[in-house]
């Protein structure tokens, strides 16, 4: 069943078409990856889904309702959480307070919200850091905090923008395991932009490939890495080995 449908969305910045009539649909509970070279329009696409940018054309439909043109807070409330590629923690708030801001969206009781925040911190291996200020965290921990804070809003769909970038291979594997368990246990639909193919191959049910703002391929990860067009524009030949 389709949960999120993007239909013909286009975004132009002055003369440049960053996203060119892109369409795709993500089913409930799916893990869907968006890949492509830098500047392909992946983050712009996310920003249009999350409400930070309004599409110049096309529609975004979530759970049967149009959401394009809504404000980011309205979209968050409707159940779409997002992370930022360049992490944006609340630097002079503690780690747990960063999550409280998210969990208070669904919980009015402070102690319930705090318990919820603590549970998510434990899940992301951040519980021991909960009392630190966000600005004191290392980059990998900030990446985890970014995911944890988005999860604290209890989203139906989680948009993850390059959360693996900057992580060591063992940390990538750990993040993959965490995301997979979140997807399996809470049924959270995950859409991720990712360059780390190791994570894409391990997680995604389907992959969308963008190049110069346009869709060039979509399919199962195993098929995508064999697609000549995808190899030429993005992956390069060495991946074939």
């Amino acid at each position: 069943m389709t949960l999120l449908a993007v239909d013909g969305v286009t975004k132009r910045f002055k003369g440049l078409t960053a996203v060119d009539a892109v369409s795709f649909a993500v089913g409930n509970g799916e893990i869907y990856a968006v890949i492509g070279p830098n500047g392909a329009g992946k983050t712009t696409l996310f920003s249009m889904i999350a409400g930070a940018l309004k599409p110049d054309a096309g529609t975004v439909t979530f759970a049967g309702a149009r959401i394009d043109g809504l404000r980011p807070d309205q979209i968050a409330l409707s159940g779409i959480g997002r992370t930022f590629q360049i992490v944006r923690p609340f630097p002079s708030m503690t780690v747990v307070d960063n999550l409280m801001v998210g969990s208070l969206l669904r919980h009015t009781n402070m102690s319930t919200a705090r318990a919820k925040a603590d549970a998510i911190l434990a899940r992301l291996d951040l519980f021991s850091q909960r009392a630190k200020l966000a600005r004191e965290l290392t980059l990998p921990d900030r990446k985890r905090l970014e995911v944890a804070r988005a999860l604290a809003t209890e989203p139906t769909v989680l948009l993850l923008d390059e959360v693996m970038a900057g992580l060591r291979p063992t940390e990538v594997d750990r993040m993959v395991a965490i995301l997979r368990s979140i997807n399996a246990e809470s049924g959270t639909t995950i859409i991720l932009i990712e360059h780390v193919m190791r994570a894409v191959m391990a997680l995604a049910n389907r992959v969308l490939v963008l190049h110069h703002g346009a869709r060039i391929a979509e399919g199962k990860p195993g098929d995508i890495v064999k697609d000549p067009e995808v190899i030429r524009s993005y992956l390069g030949t060495e991946v074939l080995d």
Partner: protein
Amino acid sequence: MTVDVIQHASGDDAERTRMVWFAGIVVGLLALVPLIASRYALSVLILVFYFAYVGQAWNIMMGFAGQLSLGHALYIGIGAYVPALLWLHLGMSPILGLFAGMAAAMLIAAAIGWLGFRFGIEGVYFALLTIAFSEVARVAVDHIPFAGGAGGLFLPVPAANKATVLNLDGGPLLYYYITLAMAVAATALVAWLARSRHGYIWRAIREDPQAAETLGINLFSAKMRAILLSAAMTSVAGVVNAFYYRNLFPAQSFDMSRSLELILAPIIGGLGTVLGPVVGAFILTPAGEALIAVTHRMGLNAPGTKGVIYGLILMAMICLKPEGVWPWIARKLRLGDRA
């Protein structure tokens, strides 16, 4: 501007309990001060409480929600003029009149907030907007005859047998307790707000509005709540201005310097902390008074001497403790104050 915080977490319940005890003892002692203090000492403490109170109100907007207002004199002026006029012309008790003043202040704040927040006027540009409204109010009141115009508004002091607390007739002793109660109530309110949903939302929009919005926070309504509450609280301070000093002039009530003097205590004390504005007021007001005494004794009577020294002290404090004095004290005493 660095808006800093005090660490809290594992031991924070114990620290918070100590904090409440500490605050309770201080307030208890302050309530007993009039038994031994001189009239002069009381008048200085009234100013301390006054600045602690308006500092708290301003700190909600700047320290918590991150919205810089440099025109809070506007709300003090409205809060002074409206109850004063209602009392002079209609004989209404200022205790009722203050609600009218509060409503008027909130109405103007809503207009400022709507213009600023709806049209994305941010940071220093928003500050300019607040200054503009304050200046317009000053010029407007200058030309309102029934408000006394530029010549000022004078509230006659009733004969001793006609004086009633209901009309807030009284000297330093009455206003000592009024301003103490205001400062304590404002501090308790901010302490509660800081730990409430509102506190989290305000700090989030102060830290990163775009990230806050992504977590479902409606920026416009969060900022509106901050400016409306801040204006409502600030307007109450106007009642003290009007009925303690008994005279009002547009050039004083709405002057830019009024807006600036009230932001010093929270900045020196610690922006975005619960006790920062209180600590700041306890440092700055007595320091100013002591400076008058010292320069007088040393015979430094050249115009501006006091201002220069006061300015140097402020600069030194901001250089030494840029996050404010209170966060530093709280760490030393192991008292919890989240921000």
